[in-house]
Amino acid sequence: MVVYSFYIFDRHAECIYKRRWLPRPTSTVGKSRSDTVSGAAPTGLGQTVRSTDDDSKLVFGTVFSLRNMVRKLGGEDDNFVSFTTSQYKLHYYETPTNTKFVMLTDLKSPSMRIALQQIYINLFVEYVVKNPLSPTEHPGGVGVNNELFEESLEQNLEVSSREQVHVRKGETAGSHRSGHIEAIIYKSGISKAQERHSCNRAHTAADSPVVKHTVLRAPACDGTFWREKKITGAQHRSQARQGHPYRLFM
């Protein structure tokens, strides 16, 4: 399964967080917008993609209208969950405070509703809302700028694709359009051996096995956070810096 992008909108219809990992597959019809999307350079780890604002506005407009339509047809309690096009699947979750979580994935993905709910409960509330210094409102789209949130999100949504490795190795940027995208969902209880095995499957033979560990500690009593980050494998580290897309980790 591949996660293409992830958006959070607050109750003022402001996009407070957006993140894109992989370009959506280019449509053969040749829409100009998807062309610019797939032509964008892969982005670095922990760094939000520079993209046109249009993208998030379009996404918001779509989910907003669909949600209202669903409620009109099915009653107040009916929920809009996801929709599918021939290219991608859009997952939607809305909290009672009107914060909207949207995720675009490929077609094979299962329902991400619970995943989005967990992102809200375990990441957004814990790291963004409960951070006393982060603003509750985001006028002008300042947005969520929170390292802990971004890192944990990164950790939990790791997307890998083989063709991005090719691009990094200096092959023509066009090659990733023909290359096929591969990404895997893991359960969190996966053993190291399995992990390594799957990594080997996901990468070309030249790539060293990747072992990645990240320990997030709970807040200490004095309110500070400790983070321990251990990434073994120099190659992996350099991949991370150069914006190697990650596997989706569950």
Binding site: R11, F64, T97, T136, S188
Partner: protein, 199 residues
């Protein structure tokens, strides 16, 4: 309605363990610590505003408002409850779930107006006001609402779930009244906001 805390436990098997699943639980904190901390804040405000109690009330309400806007997210995440169907249900939710989770008290909901837009919360027990005696300057007894932060909390949290309300205390045992009563009235339901027009 149950006033027991509801855990969120509807995970699909393959999603168990997602995102370092932390079991939802209610953290406990020493009640006296809360009481003393809150008391210190009020005392400091009284000092900062030269015992202008109107300003102190206003400031407490403002602080509560900011707390409420965050607290509601925590409440929703912890309780997993959905939207209330009407204001009566909201009142019960506030009294029996909200206050129970955060202050471990259950105020009584009463004195409804016939159009179901105003109600009173009667606090038999108010942990914020333990050990408190209002200053004996002849004005505090009439002007200071010691627990006014609670009004702000309700205002902030309900605003986040699309309800504009007005809340104020009408009586307080600290002032020598028989009960501690807060009056809450629904002003309006807030419509969904639309994104600003493209220019």
């Amino acid at each position: 309605m149950t006033n027991r805390f509801r855990c969120i436990s509807v995970f699909e098997p393959e999603l168990i363990g997602f995102l370092h699943m932390r079991r939802t639980r209610v953290d406990k904190v020493n009640a006296e610590l809360v009481t003393l901390t809150y008391g210190t804040i009020v005392a400091q405000l009284c000092q900062d505003y030269d015992s202008n109690y109107q300003d102190v009330n206003k400031q407490l309400d403002k602080m509560g408002y900011n707390i409420g806007m965050r607290l509601i997210e925590d409440f929703l995440a912890k309780s997993g409850v959905g939207r209330c169907a009407n204001f009566r249900e909201t009142a019960d939710m506030i009294a029996k779930v909200g206050f129970k989770i955060f202050l471990n008290v259950t105020p009584t909901v009463t004195n409804w107006t016939s159009d179901n837009t105003q109600f009173s919360l009667i606090f038999e027990d108010n942990p914020l006001a333990d050990f408190v005696e209002l200053p004996d300057d002849g004005r505090a007894q009439d002007e200071l609402w010691f627990s006014n932060i609670l009004c702000g909390v309700l205002r902030g949290s309900l605003e986040m779930v699309q309800m504009q309300i007005e809340a104020h205390f009408v009586s307080d045992v600290l002032r020598g009244d028989d009960t501690t009563e807060m009056r809450v009235s629904l002003v309006r339901y807030i419509e969904d906001e639309m994104p600003p027009e493209e220019e």
